[in-house]
């Protein structure tokens, strides 16, 4: 894979600026671009069973997402007989077997897949396509056989939003520290490559790019080490926001002013942003796409047209102007605010919030 694809970069930059189509105020049901696909051949009457092969729930983003998906399913009790969820625990090999078992089990009317790895899941998804309608979301697969592939704008988009914000706040020659989760994951690599391009263009120094494994203690230590080197850090760019507050604490503990920072849409970051008046932005990789997957599957079984072969969802960012709308003291610290779940059954307890 090439994580620095100018064409894709350009495309996502355009998509960020596009006006979405679809119902107002329901970004999970909206889409960017024109394409639609016919699904009449999948039409199925009566109650249906949806099957979902999940890569795993190994991070808070996926936890919120899975809650979204289950809650969305609850909205369709009349149509849905059963939602079968199998969890692959982050193992490609297991997910392939899981999909094979779901397909051969014969219970599923449609299959939703959130692949653990793009390439690995391709053959299994291809095999499943032959038996039943398949909907893929989050990471994709290398085949066009699924009815549709649901995803927000993408990694470049994330990097563009955050990179441009920081570049706009800094002067030429200022320093930015990049904190990343881990190497080699496409959706994360593209975020960094986009931001890096923007920083390079603006003449901003990336003084370091460190991997934190989304470990708060490690994040804080890494930032402390950079502070101790005595180089001024004007901004912190992050490819995911779950350790953003830990990074900020390192500045607090050292008695330094907060840098400009890009995080994500987690509550703890938004709250800190609000209370400590940060100069910040919260780009997102919205968890509401998990809702979309169920909606799409049911639409397909209804025989309705759905956006496809790619269903590109809008990818908003939280900025100073809208910050207050997204802060919700009831929700747990790592709740992703762009969950689109406020109107779903069981909110907020289902997402770990207080009444």
């Amino acid at each position: 894979q090439d994580f620095n694809d100018p064409a894709e970069f350009k495309k996502q930059r355009e998509q960020l600026a596009m006006t979405p189509q679809g119902p107002e105020g329901q970004p999970w049901a909206q889409h960017l671009g024109e394409g639609m696909v016919d699904t009449v051949k999948y039409k199925k009457d009566g109650q249906v069973t949806l099957c979902f092969s999940n890569a795993g729930v190994f991070n808070p983003w996926r936890v919120v997402g899975l809650n979204n998906l289950n809650a969305e399913a609850d909205l369709h009790k009349d149509r849905l007989k059963e939602l079968i969820v199998v969890d692959a625990e982050g193992k490609d090999d297991k997910q392939i077997s899981d999909i094979e078992a779901l397909v051969s089990g014969g219970k599923c009317d449609a299959l939703i897949v959130s692949p653990n790895t793009t390439a690995a899941l391709t053959p299994a998804v291809e095999a499943a396509c032959g038996k039943l309608p398949v909907i893929v979301f989050d990471r994709g697969v290398n085949t066009s056989c699924p009815v549709t592939y649901i995803h927000p704008v993408g990694g470049y988009g994330f990097g563009i939003t955050s990179g441009e914000f920081i570049a706009g706040k800094l002067k030429k020659g200022d320093n930015v520290l990049a904190l990343r989760i881990m190497p080699g994951v496409d959706v994360l690599e593209t975020r960094y490559s986009a931001a890096k391009n923007i920083f390079d263009e603006a003449g901003i120094n990336v003084i370091g790019s460190e991997f934190t494994g989304s470990d708060r203690a490690k994040t804080k230590s890494v930032v402390e080490d950079y502070i101790n080197r005595g180089v001024k850090i004007d901004a912190v760019w992050m490819d995911a926001g779950d350790t953003a507050t830990a990074a900020l604490e390192a500045f607090e503990d050292a008695g330094l002013p907060y840098p400009v920072i890009s995080g994500e849409d987690q509550q703890d970051f938004l709250r800190k942003w609000q209370s400590d008046k940060l100069t910040a932005i919260g780009p997102s990789y919205p968890t509401y796409q998990w809702r979309t997957a169920v909606i799409a599957a049911l639409d397909v079984l209804d025989g309705k047209q759905v956006p496809g072969p790619e269903w590109v969802l809008p990818q908003p960012a939280i900025t100073q102007d809208v910050l207050a709308d997204y802060v919700d003291e009831r929700m747990p610290p790592l709740h992703y605010s762009l969950c689109g779940c406020q109107d779903l059954p069981g909110y907020p307890e289902r997402w770990g919030g207080k009444k």
Binding site: V57, P60, P183, F211, T219, K220, V222, P332, L334
Partner: protein, 327 residues
């Protein structure tokens, strides 16, 4: 032959040699850090170094108890994670409850330690498997309880344990609370091994449990207590970790292997019978100094793993080699 005069040239007590090994490695690594970044010689930064190393040192001390008795405790990291998540759920931002919850955390830890010990001592499951099972279960429990993501916040007074730095302290300038906890824990760990008969029992149990048993040693109790101490250290480390950087679901990930590696680097012998608190303390400080050094060198993250692996082998290899030259 043992009365022959040459016999006085026999090797000295291994514990003292172990102390030297860990200390020497630590001093060398810290010197390298200071060479790259001279301000690490300032008391403030050294104290900060200790603050960050505190959880690992404490974990290593607990792990040492188990290693001395001949076992392993792989469940420590999971216990630390459980502690962080449980604290955030139970306290849920209310500083009033902090101390009561800390008590509850220790109760949980002790329960895990007891189960580990009982499974090893009475069900005869090798500790590496028993604690692997415990690791899976405890981790699963912590995640199931929290729903897989951090829930609730930790209040200031809890965070302070791992985060607060006292300023204007005589001699050292700044003194992190975590360093006080660290010193207290190491002192207690030292006392347990040197101030009570427990330490000697643990060594004998690790060396030859059968001989210990026939001489009347409560072998099972000695083993179980080691796992309890280990779990208590994991709780303490978890509290410091949560305090230092807040709640996360992977707070304790991988710490168990680091703790084992630390003990071994410091000269403790796997499968028991040899080692002292100093092997754990200086082994852990060495390991942490290595992490810091690699950070400062700015090597790619990935290569740091490689270097860590190579150094682990080299440190143990050196011990083996010196042992062979002596024997």
């Amino acid at each position: 032959m043992t009365t022959a005069p040459q016999a006085s040239a026999l090797p000295r007590r291994p514990a003292r040699i172990a102390l030297n090994a860990g200390l020497v490695i630590f001093v060398v690594l810290y010197a390298a850090i200071a060479f790259l970044q001279p301000n690490y010689l300032e008391p403030g930064l050294f104290m900060n170094f200790l603050r960050r190393a505190a959880p690992l040192v404490i974990l290593a001390c607990g792990q040492l108890y188990v290693i001395l008795t001949g076992g392993f405790d792989l469940s420590m990291g999971a216990v630390a994670t459980l502690v962080v998540l449980a604290a955030s759920i139970l306290i849920n931002g209310d500083p009033e409850t902090t101390w009561a919850v800390i008590g509850a955390l220790y109760v949980m830890g002790i329960a895990v330690g007891l189960v580990n010990g009982l499974v090893v001592a009475f069900l005869k499951v090798p500790s590496i498997i028993a604690t692997l099972g415990a690791m899976l279960s405890v981790n699963g429990l912590a995640l199931a309880w929290s729903g897989g993501a951090a829930r609730g916040d930790l209040p200031e007074n809890f965070r302070n344990l791992g985060r607060l730095v006292l300023r204007d302290v005589p001699f050292v300038g700044t003194l992190p609370l975590a360093v006080i906890v660290l010193l207290g824990f190491v002192a207690i760990a030292w006392w347990g091994l040197n101030g009570t008969v427990y330490g000697k029992r643990a060594l004998v149990v690790g060396d030859n449990p059968r001989a210990a048993e026939l001489a009347g040693t409560p072998v099972a109790a000695t083993r179980i207590l080691a796992f309890v101490v280990s779990a208590v250290s994991a709780v303490t480390a978890g509290i410091l970790l949560g305090g230092f950087s807040g709640v996360s679901v992977n707070a304790g990930e991988g710490l168990e292997l680091q703790a084992i590696a630390a003990c071994v680097i410091g000269g403790a012998q796997l499968l028991g019978g040899r080692g002292s608190v100093w092997s754990a303390v200086f082994g852990a400080l060495s390991l942490f100094a290595l992490f810091t050094l690699l950070n400062l060198l700015g090597l790619p993250q990935a290569l740091r793993d490689s270097i860590q692996g190579a150094i682990l082998i080299a440190a143990v290899g050196a011990t083996v080699w010196r042992g062979r030259r002596r024997a």
